[in-house]
């Protein structure tokens, strides 16, 4: 017989446990730290509140956070963060919590650039400057710190067109709700010449699909269906423009599952599994965004905003970041026009396309060890970086 | 007519069952002889079903003794009761509606092949044979019992009790949902079972059924036994008085009895 009382308390306990687990896997809550900072004398305290949208994606924990946190703490600031776990409403709650914990500056990685706007209003009302990190927020008062997403797309496509200038292309895009997937990256592809090539007939687009939640499995399923359809039409696929690494992984798995000859595939993010694929010749190009540097830039900007510098006057200190990554507009914060016509202040860093030829860059950049990169690489066909 | 034997088939002594602070069964002693029907009557909440559930293993008694054939035994769950050949026909029938009649008859006691698989054929065969005694026209052995009529479902519940050679049967309102013809069938069955030496507790709100079939009648009121009487020595009015007032007729006042006469 069920004893209802114990079921009830256990049920509530389970919900609370679940709620706590969802709030922040891997993120650090630091009420203790902020108290410690408060007890430090002299320097005006700088509490930087960071709201991640999907901390579970590998990159943030590996690169962005450590560098941001280090830069902030080296400058005497305090770092606190929460993860919204892909939930826009959760992100609004997270921002409220960050503000209530005394954040002087907010760094927001928006899950949804529309849904984040109420949080923005709350921050503005509290007089807290906001850095839009990696993902755009359509608001004239934010500091947009990101990689040149259009530039990423351009780098992807340029590398691919150099390898496969004419032929049949498959376009695999990311989540349809993400402006990167729907706007910026395809814009970069066109800047590299995709639209022109399609019009001139050099390139035929065999399929053009979005991938919900950038999911690898979904990308694999979609790609398999595309391969089947192409086979049925007697059409040969020559190249796949995949917007990012998680989808590229699914594309490569699909090609292997259908025993399709390996064709050039693009990607971005420099995920270890994909870099391994590049080393093994399964992926052609992986546009690497050295997000170590992005974290540093955001961290430094946060400190400067704390100290009272106006957003338009921000600059990247010399030597903070690698030259190859520096914005084309120079070290001073520049204006950036968003798709909706808003002008935001910005630091736009440059990406680095990685192919089998220049894999040494990711090893030298401390991004991945040679051992991990070259695991499973055949000695006969190994790239230079693995020999 | 079966003669009551010296050692009762079943004895329940000083049974107590409490739910929270409420004594659903309060120090009840009752016994049953082979070949006898004891009618168990009382108003709603008198404790009849609870007492029988203690016997059938559905709800363990908090205290008291149960003696079967003179031997004290523990009944902590339905399996125990069935092991002592106590079979119950519950008021709700306790049938699984989505499964067919043979499956219900053998629920929890399925026939298996030597490999341990369900022997549906053998179970259906056995079910047909036992149902033939109860309802010779019954044919729907392969459909879920949900599709059967009330009387057919009752027959399945009874078949379950009959098949497993019950020595002690508990029947909780066996004719409540039945029409006159089917009720007569059940009555005949009860008489038949009596001649086979089976002892039956019959819970029924139909006082005429109880008088027709029982040898003795126990009246319960608020968890206690008011009295256990030989049917031959009381009238229906006496029993009704006990049910409603909770007192033996000789203990009730003239006014109380007068109210009942109206």
């Amino acid at each position: 017989m069920v004893v209802r009382r114990s079921a009830g308390t256990l049920g509530i306990a389970a919900i609370l446990l679940a709620a706590c687990t969802s709030a922040s896997p891997g993120a650090s809550e630091a009420p203790g730290e902020s108290e410690a900072a408060a007890s430090e004398p002299a320097t005006a305290e700088c509490i930087v509140g960071v709201s991640w949208n999907n901390f579970q994606q590998p990159r943030w924990a590996a690169t962005d956070k450590p560098n941001m946190q280090q830069t902030i703490e080296d400058g005497g600031g305090t770092f606190i963060d929460f993860d919204a776990n892909l939930d826009s409403l959760q992100q609004l709650t997270d921002v409220d919590t960050l503000i209530s914990q005394g954040a002087n500056v907010l760094v927001l990685l928006a899950q949804d650039n529309q849904a984040i706007l109420p949080a923005l209003e709350t921050a503005k009302d509290a007089g807290i400057p906001v850095i839009a990190y990696d993902r755009l927020i359509e608001d004239p008062d934010v500091l947009y710190v990101t990689f040149d997403n259009v530039g990423v797309g351009k780098a992807e496509a340029e590398a691919m067109f150099a390898e496969v200038p004419t032929g049949n292309y498959v376009l695999i895009k990311g989540d349809p709700g993400d402006p990167n997937a729907s706007t910026f990256l395809p814009q970069g592809w066109d800047e590299a010449g995709l639209a022109d090539k399609v019009e001139s007939g050099d390139i035929t687009i065999v399929a053009d699909q979005f991938t919900d939640a950038w999911s690898t499995e979904t990308a694999q399923n979609n790609m398999e269906a595309i391969i089947d359809s192409a086979n049925a039409d007697g059409v040969q696929i020559d190249a796949v423009l995949a917007e990012n690494d998680s989808t590229a992984l699914g594309v490569v798995a699909a090609l292997q599952a259908k025993n399709y000859d390996i064709v050039p595939v693009s990607g971005q993010d420099g995920d270890p599994a994909n870099l391994q694929n590049v080393a093994q010749g399964l992926q052609y190009v992986d546009v690497w965004k050295n997000s170590n540097e992005l974290g540093k830039v955001a961290g430094q900007a946060a400190l400067d905003l704390c100290a009272g510098t106006a957003m338009a006057d921000l600059t990247i200190p010399d030597g903070l970041i690698d030259d190859s990554v520096a914005p084309t507009a120079g070290n001073a914060a520049a204006d950036f026009e968003t798709p909706n016509g808003t002008t935001v202040t910005s630091f736009i860093l440059q990406p680095t396309p990685i192919t089998a030829e220049n894999l040494d860059l990711v090893i030298d950049g401390g991004w991945i060890t040679k051992e991990d990169l070259c695991a499973g690489v055949d000695a006969a066909t190994a790239p230079a970086a693995c020999q | 007519m079966a003669v009551a034997e010296r050692v009762p088939l079943l004895e329940m002594r000083n049974i107590r069952v409490a739910f929270g602070g409420v004594h659903a069964v309060d120090n009840v002693s009752i016994d049953l002889n082979a070949g006898e029907v004891v009618g168990l009557v009382g108003g709603n909440g008198a404790g009849k079903s609870t007492l029988m559930r203690a016997l059938s293993g559905a709800h363990r008694a908090d205290s008291g003794e149960i003696l079967i054939g003179g031997q004290p035994q523990t009944i902590s769950n339905p399996r125990d009761a069935k092991a002592f050949n106590i079979e119950t026909i519950y008021q709700t029938l306790a049938l699984a509606d989505n499964v067919d009649a043979p499956a219900n008859v053998f629920l929890g006691r399925e026939m298996t092949t030597h490999l341990g698989n369900l022997d549906d054929g053998a179970m259906e065969d056995a079910c047909r044979k036992v149902m033939a005694r109860l309802n010779p026209h019954f044919k729907r052995f392969a459909t879920p019992v949900k599709t059967l009529s009330g009387g057919q479902r009752q027959a399945v519940a009874i078949a379950r009790a009959v098949y497993f050679n019950a020595k002690i049967m508990i029947m909780d309102e066996p004719t409540a949902a039945l029409g006159p013809a089917e009720t007569a069938q059940v009555r005949d069955l009860i008489r038949q079972l009596k001649t086979e030496g089976i002892g039956i507790f019959l819970i029924s709100h139909d006082i005429h059924d109880v008088f027709d079939l029982s040898e003795r009648i126990s009246v319960m009121y608020h968890g206690r036994i008011v009295d256990t009487v030989d049917k031959a020595s009381v009238t229906t009015d006496d029993v009704l008085a006990m049910i409603i007032l909770g007192k033996k007729p000789e203990e009730a006042s003239r006014e109380e009895l007068a109210k009942l006469q109206i």
Partner: protein, 438 residues
């Protein structure tokens, strides 16, 4: 399909005669299952027409079947859980965790113990450990649900969240790839299939088995003097069943290795290629073999074992099951152990297909698994549902996703269609139940 769905009402036994309904009744086919097959055929035909006659080809159907295999396998377990009035929201996360465990074992943990990818049985060890893990997770949840009494919705919701989080913790947030060559075969593909000869053999065995079952069934009924199906019905069922088994085998064998792969194989084995290339039939891929195997085993458990009987009886009337002396708590716990095990099997397919594991493997699987079971006829009221129905339900849902992808329709639209079909299927079923009285 025949005789397997005892939980669905059979037609009245007096139906004879020449009418179509009478004939259908005489064969004792489960109408609901039959209807689902018809629906699947309609969907496939529809896409075939939509694609201009390119859809219904062996290689495409095999792709579709492999993509549906994980959900189909899990759906068989979900049937028993929903039938017994419970739910399991954690299946997708169990798949994610176990897939990551397989991958980490093969790529990281076992090699560090000296058992590397070159070790021929490394993948067997990884597989065994992963299966055990799946069963353990299921058992853990099942214990809390059955013996502690916490509602299954809550427990498995907690499982969904915490297990998904643990995937991240295990892998430190990175994707893992590069599995054992033999393990990858579980994922299908040209090499991951049983080949032409075995496929034919399987088809023949299936045909013989169907005929054998029909004969056995007939003999069993005779033995007890029950009514047997008319001879023509048995013959018809046997013929159709055999034709289906052999037809599927032929269909699978009409799928050939890609030209490049075949050429390489010919070169490696010193075979001269005939004009037109060496045609090596692919046959049934391993995921399909797993689906078939799991379906047979689960159907057997559900209909011919006491455990299955108790699950259905409990779902129909939990009280009756208790009063019958059934150990209901242990029964419920077993349904969850089984579910966890099936998730581990699905995880093997998923990670083999991916040649590794990512953080989001299995995400949202629970929704598709529940949808498959429900479309296949399982009712949330409990007590009703068939295993073959759920497997068919999985194929119906996946055929929609795949067909839309094949015809270039985007994923948001795919989701809309899937949702509408789910509502229609269940709505139609409810309507039918109410009309037909069960």
């Amino acid at each position: 399909m025949v005789d397997m769905a005892k939980s669905a009402p059979g037609p009245p036994q007096e139906a004879k005669g020449r009418s179509l309904r009478g004939m259908l009744a005489a064969t004792e086919i489960d109408l609901r299952l039959f209807g689902m097959l018809v629906a699947l055929a309609v969907i496939l035909l529809g896409f075939h027409i939509l694609s201009g006659g390119k859809f219904l080809q062996p290689s495409n159907m095999v792709t579709l079947a492999v993509q549906a295999s994980g959900v189909a396998i899990m759906a068989t377990g979900m049937v028993l859980i929903i039938v017994s009035r419970n739910i399991d929201l954690s299946v997708g996360s169990i798949v994610g965790v176990v897939a990551m465990i397989y991958s980490l074992l093969m790529v990281d943990w076992l090699p560090s113990l000296g058992i590397g990818l070159d070790n021929p049985v490394q993948w067997v060890i990884a597989l065994a450990l992963g299966l055990a893990m799946g069963a353990f997770i299921g058992g853990f949840q099942g214990f809390i649900i059955a013996f502690v009494g916490v509602p299954s919705f809550i427990v498995t919701l907690g499982g969904l969240l915490s297990l998904r989080g643990s995937v991240w913790l295990l892998s430190s947030g990175a994707a893992v790839s590069g599995l054992h060559d033999n393990f990858k075969l579980i994922g299908g593909g040209a090499v991951g299939s049983i080949g032409g000869v075995a496929t034919w053999a399987l088809g023949i065995v299936a045909c013989l088995a169907i005929i054998g079952l029909l004969i056995y069934n007939r003999r069993q009924r005779r033995r007890f003097g029950f009514q047997v199906r008319p001879m023509w019905a048995d013959v018809l069922l046997g013929a159709v069943g055999c034709a289906a088994a052999l037809g599927l085998a032929a269909f699978a064998n009409a799928n050939f290795w890609p030209a490049g792969l075949a050429t390489r194989y010919a070169v490696e084995n010193g075979i001269t290629e005939p004009p037109g290339g060496l045609k090596i039939p692919v046959g049934f891929p391993w995921p399909i073999i797993l689906v078939i195997g799991v379906t047979i085993v689960m159907t057997f458990i559900a209909t011919r074992r006491r455990f299955g009987r108790y699950v259905y009886a409990y779902g129909g009337n939990p009280d009756a099951a208790e009063l019958a002396g059934i150990n209901t708590r242990w029964t419920i716990m077993k349904t969850y152990i089984l579910m966890g095990l099936l998730c581990a099997v699905a995880a093997a397919i998923a990670s083999a297909r991916l040649n590794g594991s990512t953080l989001d493997v299995g995400s949202s699987d629970e929704l598709y698994v529940i949808a498959a079971a429900v479309v296949g006829g399982t009712s949330f009221a409990g007590g009703i549902g068939t295993i073959p129905g759920a497997v068919l339900g999985a194929f119906v849902m996946q055929s929609l996703a795949y067909g839309l992808s094949f015809n270039g329709v985007n994923s948001p639209t795919q989701n809309v269609v899937a949702g509408i079909v789910l509502i229609l299927a269940v709505g139609f079923d409810s309507y039918n139940r109410r009309r037909g009285g069960g």
